[in-house]
Symmetry: C2
């Protein structure tokens, strides 16, 4: 995998999180493959399958997210031909749920994002994010 | 994607769950790609990256799993050239944690398994399993 490939995948991954942060549904739609095989698993959700359903799910998530900011750590990019994976830790800063008390809530999830190389760049095929529940599975490296 | 491709991917996916059910670490190792880019996210864990670390993680998980049985539902297979994804719901029947009271505990997780076509078949590149926490994300179809 070339440095240029890795950089392009990292940029596509960044566009995904920027679209979410900005609550920009059009930008989010542009990140994804547009076919019936798109897979999106929001933390704690069942899978949402197909671009149309994924799009609707983001409309719901964004409508219920007044503020969110991601700091990504442990970003691991692998490019294998025309498919690429990004595994990362999503360190999340969000508006506190209790709206009567302005403030922030933090959280952490791990995410697997699989991209496909298409004409014009990389599109998101699979997004699977999940809450981190235990310390026992700390990254063991290799 | 051909029916033969889909069947071969389903068979590789079944081998993965059979290896776990049988606590067979050799069979589990044979399911996976053998390189440093293998990714395994057990439910609630941080990512484990690289075949050697993934192998060690299964040794730990199997040592702590006296009995487990999977009934897979909502199995969705997509083949795109030499890469394939399986999304499924893992309906789990396991030994109850309280060993003084023989019995079973049930549970549910959703899993994304990404396979690569290699000489001789399909190997598991990415396994990401996560607990289902809410009903709000019920499968919306497309």
């Amino acid at each position: 995998m070339t440095d240029a490939d890795v950089a392009a995948v990292e940029e596509a991954n960044a566009r995904f999180y920027a679209a979410f942060e900005h609550g920009d549904l059009d930008a989010m739609r542009a990140v994804w493959v547009a076919d019936s095989h798109a897979v999106c698993i929001h933390p704690g959700w069942n899978p949402v399958i197909g671009a149309a359903a994924v799009d609707r799910s983001w409309a719901v998530v964004m409508a219920n997210t007044p503020y969110i900011q991601f700091i990504l750590t442990d970003v691991e990019v692998t490019v294998r031909g025309d498919v690429a994976s990004v595994t990362c830790t999503e360190n999340v800063l969000a508006a506190a749920e209790d709206e009567s008390t302005p403030g922030f809530a933090g959280g952490k999830a791990v995410s697997t994002n699989v991209f496909l190389r298409v004409e014009g760049g990389w599109r998101l095929w699979i997004h699977h994010a999940s809450p981190v529940l235990s310390k026992s599975g700390a990254d063991e490296g290799d």
